[in-house]
């Protein structure tokens, strides 16, 4: 019986091709790198937010963050923000701020050392990306990073911002 329940859950999730879209998230609160706290509602005041889960020991995450920083700067004027949430445990969390500062990244950085926020946002793998609109709805979800994914990421950001023009450098 249990196997049947399991199988049906798996099949159900398989058949539902884009099940996450438009799922409203709770008003989660985040601890930022500078010690301050913020919430999803506060972050969404001016526009959509891209949330990225990463860690200092995750090489693909770091490659992806170079592009995320570019997008944060490029679309900031539209009210768009990138929030990169570090899932580093205390074993490596002292390095988070040094790494961000040394790379001169401008996006927001959150800390989630016990992965409570990651769990609520279903971030099973690193990196995991989500775009959340101002209604707190998840409009895009992506797991892992392959070089070239940044093209799709930018398209999704533009879609969330409702920008129709051609992509410019």
């Amino acid at each position: 019986m249990k196997k049947l329940i399991l199988l049906s859950l798996l099949c159900g999730s398989m058949l539902n091709a884009e099940p996450l879209l438009d799922t409203a998230l709770p008003n989660l609160s985040f601890k930022l790198m500078d010690g301050e706290h913020t919430s999803l509602n506060e972050l969404l005041k001016d526009g959509p937010v891209l949330v990225d889960f990463w860690a200092t020991w995750c090489a693909p995450c770091k490659k992806e963050m170079i592009h995320l920083d570019k997008f944060h700067k490029k679309y900031e004027e539209y009210g768009f923000q990138v929030l990169c949430i570090s899932t580093d445990s205390p074993k490596s969390m002292s390095k988070v701020k040094s790494y961000i500062r040394s790379k001169k990244f401008k996006f927001l950085v959150g800390l989630d050392p016990n992965q409570q926020v990651a769990q609520k946002m279903n971030a099973l793998l690193l990196p995991t990306l989500l775009i959340i609109n101002q209604k707190r709805e998840m409009v895009w979800f992506h797991q892992g990073y392959l070089p070239g994914d940044e093209i799709e990421i930018e398209e999704q950001i533009r879609h969330a911002l409702n920008i129709q023009d051609e992509i410019s450098e």
């Binding site: 539902n16 799922t23 690193l126």
Partner: protein
């Protein structure tokens, strides 16, 4: 009419309910009969201020741990502005996790969660959290009966409560914690001891744009219940200190960490015996380690194992950008026990030698560890071509087996692991979504048994017996002339991917040594046959990842894995050793 009202009420309730979750299925089987089949399902139900997390496991058996078919975790949360309540399985961190850091690390099957109640009140600048509950900590120990690498064989039960408070004043933050656990501890004779552990800490941190620092001082005390007097008597008394300083300059940042963990010093023979020793470092503590978690595979395989009961060390990291397209990273970390150990000339019992040191000691009798690493990264062609080149040198005295001393002489016998590692990664991505990634890592590893003897201050014997040999003879033992000073390891992987849909990676893990006692009558699989390689010294696998949808990821691996932390196809995982078989993974998010 009633039915309509009921339906309307239900629809109103469910309209406000948000339900999400994920599933993770992993199935594997290899030729040596190793098999696992496990599925984890997480569900999150949110209604207004309430949030419910349920985790189900269906395993028969899991890759690590015991089989379970049913609910594994449960938590109900209530958030109302400043107040937050949690009931169920709690995973909390206080400060940097030196007093409390309960984790569920499934890749290594380490679960230190607490089942109970947490009440948090957060009115800026003040935060307070009260926690109470029960915990069952399962660990693997060779000192307990029924040792099995795959399934835990030693369990302790704890009844805990504690309070954590922080106060933020501008850039300053002060905090204090108290945690007490009453533990049922089964000793080596299987008697259950009643132990009371107490931890008290104070912490302070400060941050500004140029620098920040964090310090924490922890005191631990434990008491053992005596049936005869029906009271607790003092058992252990320890101290710990942690410090972290970060400096941010224009060109680079410096990260420094210092640890001084002295929860209880155990002699070299007994320091890993968690059965006979108690009332010191607790499973719900998970503190910083003041050493680097390396991204490359081969350096991770020789990671130093911290002795949280007695470890003194520091780490200095420097990272920055030489140009917009060149990053650098440098690391130096050292640690040791707080004192050297020596065998008493009277009764051959272990004794501490000299006073406690608050800095790491290079004396072999203090089992020192050292890690030096440097790395340069180049981001070329508008970030499409990425090269990373590194060099690392690590030295770790893992065990001290004997240290005798007279007025004029001394003799030390120790186990050593040291290695020089050279990782090289590069990736190139084309504009149409195609990309190529390659990793080449080379390591010269020295591992074995050392002996050093001195007489009147001069070294008279300094020998090292390597664990490694090239080949074994027909009797299954190595010939004397086949011993090698170094094991040469190569890790190579090449992957081709098409963003955002799929990637395929071929990995070759290669060594130059043989090991006795390994059955080499195994089947040569088609992949190895095709590549024409010797399976006794190579681990080859091919993995394909396919993103079925943005929320569903399928992976299929065929071949053998040596194990360790491996990052392929854009995802990092700790992978257990696996010999010639299939692994299937499916993650879905709903």
């Amino acid at each position: 009419m009633k039915k309509v009202i009921l339906l309307l009420s239900l629809s109103m309730v469910f309209a406000q309910v948000s339900f999400t979750g994920n599933t993770e299925t992993r199935i594997g089987e290899n030729r040596s009969g190793f098999y696992y089949n496990e599925t984890l399902i997480n569900t999150h139900l949110q209604y207004g201020n309430f949030n419910n997390w349920l985790q189900f496991e269906f395993s028969d058996p899991p890759e690590l741990g015991r089989s379970l078919n049913g609910m594994r975790k449960l938590r109900l949360e209530y958030d109302h502005g400043d107040l937050s309540l949690k009931l169920g399985d709690l995973y909390e961190i206080w400060g940097r996790g030196i007093v409390l850091n309960s984790i569920d690390d499934q890749p290594i099957d380490r679960d230190t969660g607490i089942r109970g109640l947490s009440i948090s009140y957060n009115v800026h600048p003040f935060e307070v959290q009260f926690i109470t509950g029960k915990a069952k900590f399962a660990q693997s120990s060779i000192y307990a009966p029924g040792f099995d690498n795959r399934v835990h064989n030693y369990i302790t039960n704890h009844n805990l409560y504690g309070l954590d408070m922080t106060y933020m004043l501008g850039n300053h933050l002060i905090g204090t914690s108290f945690l007490q656990s009453k533990e049922d501890h089964a000793d080596a004779l299987s008697d259950t001891l009643n132990i009371k552990n107490q931890l008290i800490s104070g912490r302070y941190s400060y941050n500004n744009t140029l620098y920040d620092f964090y310090i924490e001082y922890i005191m631990n005390r434990s008491f053992e219940f005596e049936e005869d007097n029906a009271s607790y008597r003092d058992h252990e008394d320890g101290r710990a200190f942690y410090g972290n300083l970060n400096i941010y300059l224009d060109l680079f940042s410096i990260n420094m960490e210092y640890i001084n963990y002295q929860f209880g010093a155990l002699d070299p023979l007994n320091r890993w015996d968690i059965v006979s020793n108690y009332g010191m470092f607790q499973p719900f503590q998970n503190p910083p380690i003041a050493m680097n978690i390396h991204e490359n595979v081969l350096m991770n395989r020789i990671s130093h194992q911290s002795d949280f009961n007695n470890e003194v060390g520091y780490k200095i990291e420097i990272m920055g950008m030489l140009r917009d397209w060149i990053d650098f990273f440098g690391l130096y970390s050292v640690s040791s026990r707080s004192t050297p150990w020596v065998l008493s000339s009277q009764d051959y019992s272990w004794q501490k030698e000299g006073e406690k040191s608050h800095l790491p000691i290079s004396d072999l009798a203090a089992t020192p560890f050292r890690d030096v690493y440097g790395e340069l990264s180049f981001n070329l062609l508008d970030g499409n071509f990425h090269i990373k080149i590194g060099a690392g040198d690590s030295y770790d005295v893992t065990e001290l087996t004997s240290h005798t001393k007279t007025d004029t002489s001394s003799a030390k016998y120790y186990m050593l692991t040291s290695g020089q590692t050279f990782p090289l990664n590069f990736s190139y991505s084309l504009e149409n979504g195609w990309s190529v990634n390659a990793k080449i890592e080379t390591q010269f590893l020295s591992k074995g048994f050392g002996r050093i003897e001195t007489l009147n201050g001069s070294t008279v014997i300094d020998t090292f017996y390597s664990d490694f040999y090239n080949d074994i003879n027909e009797n299954g033992i190595p010939d004397n002339d086949e011993f090698l000073d170094f094991e040469t390891n190569h890790f190579m992987s090449i992957s081709i991917g098409k963003s955002p849909r799929w990637s395929a990676t071929l990995t070759l893990d290669r060594t130059n040594i043989s090991k006795t006692g390994i059955d080499d009558s195994h089947h040569l699989n088609p992949l190895e046959e095709f590549l024409g390689i010797d399976q006794t010294k190579n681990w080859v696998n091919i993995e394909i990842i396919y993103n079925v949808t943005t929320s569903m990821r399928l992976s299929l691996l065929y071949g053998s894995l040596k194990g360790g932390l491996i990052c392929t196809n854009g995802v990092c995982r700790i992978i257990e050793p696996f010999d010639d078989g299939f692994k299937l993974g499916l993650t879905t998010v709903f």
